[in-house]
Amino acid sequence: MKRVQFSHSPIPYLFIAPQIIIICIFFLWPAAQAIYQSFLLEDAFGLSSQFVWFKNYKDTILTDAWLQSAGFTLVFSFLVTFLSLALAMLLAVKANEVIQGARTYKTLLMWAYAIAPPVAGLMGNLMFNPLIGDLYYFLNAMGWDFNHKLDSFDAGFVVILIAVWKQVSVNFIFFLSGLQSIPKSVLEAATIDCKSNLRRFWTMTFPLLAPTTFFLVVINITYAFFETFGIIDTTTGGAPGGSTSTLVYKVFTDGFRGNDLGGSSAQSVVLMLMVLALTVIQFRFIERKVHY
């Protein structure tokens, strides 16, 4: 809050009104509905419904399918976050070092930011298509008995690869600007003190990038939880055997494919609580930073 402010008057309410009205109609009301729905057993067409307390939770949470999905979501989020951060950091450090062609590298490495996840998914899908996909042939020619339609490890590999690919550019942008904000004098002093590149990175650069990294971890986890929906929907669709279905994807399939509203809503609410926990952690361990 500003120390100097306009004093109390109806004016601020006018300014904030559009935002609040939209939130009330399109956020609070539907969110409340979702919570209410999670306690109902209602037929798909909404013609009859009964209040059943926690039956939907009991029927859908902690079932084999849900646990499988939760397990995959965790592994998936961890790997996507770790790999895309590591790759982006490596590229950003190198891009910050080189003198020739720095601008070109930068452009080539960041442009994928603009590509929609489902579009990335479709491109990846065709790359791995058993009928025309070059990567599919390549991996098999390399001696890997690769079949992502049948093998859950291979399917996970495809989804993670595409999700990482899509996320590298955002991380790269943040890391690079983080590096560029380190004062030149600090870097020069470090070069004199420490001749080994690797040691210099771990003792100098990495700690300086830590705040950015922390912040990116949260963004990346959110990305892996929610935004990868489009990738999964256009590649594996959760197959084989539901092994690549994230929790959000499962909410979608149960609700929109299976038309089980109560069960799907109950899973949404659990997901909400998970995101809430994530945010609390973010606030506890990282200073108050808010980002989408």
Binding site: L131, D151, G237, P240, D260
Partner: protein, 434 residues
């Protein structure tokens, strides 16, 4: 009250609405027919609209079967439902058990002067979308049945004269095809072909309560020795290189057949038209094989595909339009047109006769195979099934079939899980819809 306020705000803040002003009564039809099928649907609409001026039929493609069903349901909840909604076989229980969501087509057509006689429809077609008393609720639209397609070139190369009638025969020829460089078989929809129709073909019961027609309080009967034997065999074939699995999507496996990777493919009678265009080799169609060890006289198969449902909540004038269109759609000429253009079977006896008299099957004998298979003698368990949350049950099937293929679960364990998880879903459905 809130709703009214919201509506007011909505109307006020509306930037751009797309609306079609029209004098004729509009009949909205949401369907799931993509690609070439969608084009034929549009042609039907053009023909219908040209045939009269009172009603205007507006078909809209809503994506795949599940997308279309969900869109229709969401629209119904928001009181924006179309007049006609296409619902596929697995969704039949959801829409028919939601009392008051639809108007039975038998009633609708009788009431609005379009006339309705159940006997007009092919025997294999009239029961699947009917209630337990046999009254037709949905109008079968794109009706198909699983067929075996085989690559004649491949068969010649391997020195095989005819396609296998039984799975025993299949096992005899598969090694020869393998030697000739082909994977013998692929299949496009394992719940539909290797589960549901497996039961119909062998006249086995699928579920209690008359396959689910009599009640929603029902238990699945998939954990049976015959089906387990079959899947044990399929896994064996996969391991021996006689069976190929190219993914869950329908097209994955069909494309493998087109690319000559597999010598045979189990698909739908509706695939016929597409194959004619894309396959660069001579191919033929044949009945779905059966196990001689289970039955001597195989029965017919279920119809697959989807039906058209008349959604409730519209006014009489519009229903007259719906009935009028349904009458037009089921006329022999239109059915014959649909049959010829897409390969789906005609649903009325009159249309079948028209096709026969026109000499269609003399020039294109393969187009008749699906109808002949549907018209094979029926048994106690060949009219269909009505199981709730069946979309999810199919997911359960896929999931555990994947596990069998990947060697993660034995056939016995997989079917025990299928039984348990399916029954949980059926129980949930029963609790919801009662």
């Amino acid at each position: 009250m809130l709703k009214r306020t919201l509506t007011a705000i909505g109307a006020f803040s509306c930037l751009a609405t797309i609306s079609v002003a029209n004098a004729a009564t509009e009949v909205q039809w949401w369907h799931a027919m993509g690609g070439r099928l969608g084009e034929v649907v549009d042609e039907i609409a053009v023909k219908y609209n040209a045939s009269q001026s009172e009603y205007k039929l507006v078909p809209t493609y809503k994506g795949g079967y599940e997308d279309t069903m969900t869109a229709g349901i969401a629209a119904f909840r928001a009181k924006q439902q179309p007049h006609i909604l296409q619902i596929f076989d697995a969704g039949a229980a959801t829409i028919i058990n939601a009392k008051g969501a639809t108007i039975a087509v038998a009633d609708l057509m009788a009431e609005h002067g379009a006339g309705f006689n159940k006997e007009d429809y092919l025997a294999g077609v009239r029961n699947f979308y009917a209630d337990s008393d046999g009254k037709m609720i949905g109008m079968p639209f794109n009706s198909s049945t699983p067929l075996l397609y085989y690559n004649k070139e491949a068969f010649k190369k391997a020195g095989i004269a005819t396609p296998p009638k039984t799975w025993e025969e299949f096992e005899a020829i598969a090694p020869k095809l393998k030697e000739a460089g082909y994977i013998a078989l692929a299949q496009s929809h394992s719940p539909w072909i290797f589960t549901e129709n497996f039961h119909s073909r062998h006249n086995l019961q699928m579920a209690t309560a008359n396959n689910g027609y009599d009640s929603t309080d029902v238990k699945i009967m998939y954990n049976n020795p015959e089906l387990k034997m079959h899947w044990g065999k399929v896994k064996e074939w996969l391991d021996k290189g006689w069976y190929g699995y190219y993914g869950r999507a329908w097209g994955d496996n069909q494309d493998a057949f087109i690319q000559k990777k597999t010598a045979m493919w189990l698909g739908s009678s509706g695939s016929f038209g597409g194959l004619t265009k894309s396959a660069e080799f001579e191919f033929g169609g044949s009945f779905l094989p059966y196990w001689k060890s289970i039955v001597d006289e195989p029965k017919g198969t279920f119809i697959g595909g989807a039906a058209l449902f008349a959604m409730s909540g519209h006014d009489d004038e519009e229903y007259k339009g719906v009935a009028d269109f349904m009458k037009f759609l089921t006329s022999p000429e239109m059915q014959y047109f649909w049959h010829k253009e897409t390969g789906y079977v005609p649903i009325t006896n009159a249309a079948y006769d028209l096709a026969k008299n026109d000499g269609y099957y003399e020039t294109t004998p393969d187009a008749e195979i699906g109808i002949l298979q549907l018209n094979q003698p029926g048994g106690d368990w060949t009219k269909g099934y009505r199981l709730g949350y069946y979309v999810q049950i199919r997911e359960v099937l896929y999931k555990h079939f994947d596990d069998i293929f990947a060697g993660k679960l034995s056939v016995d364990d997989a079917f025990a899980k299928i039984e348990e998880e399916s029954n949980d879903l059926l129980e949930r459905f029963n609790a919801t819809y009662n």
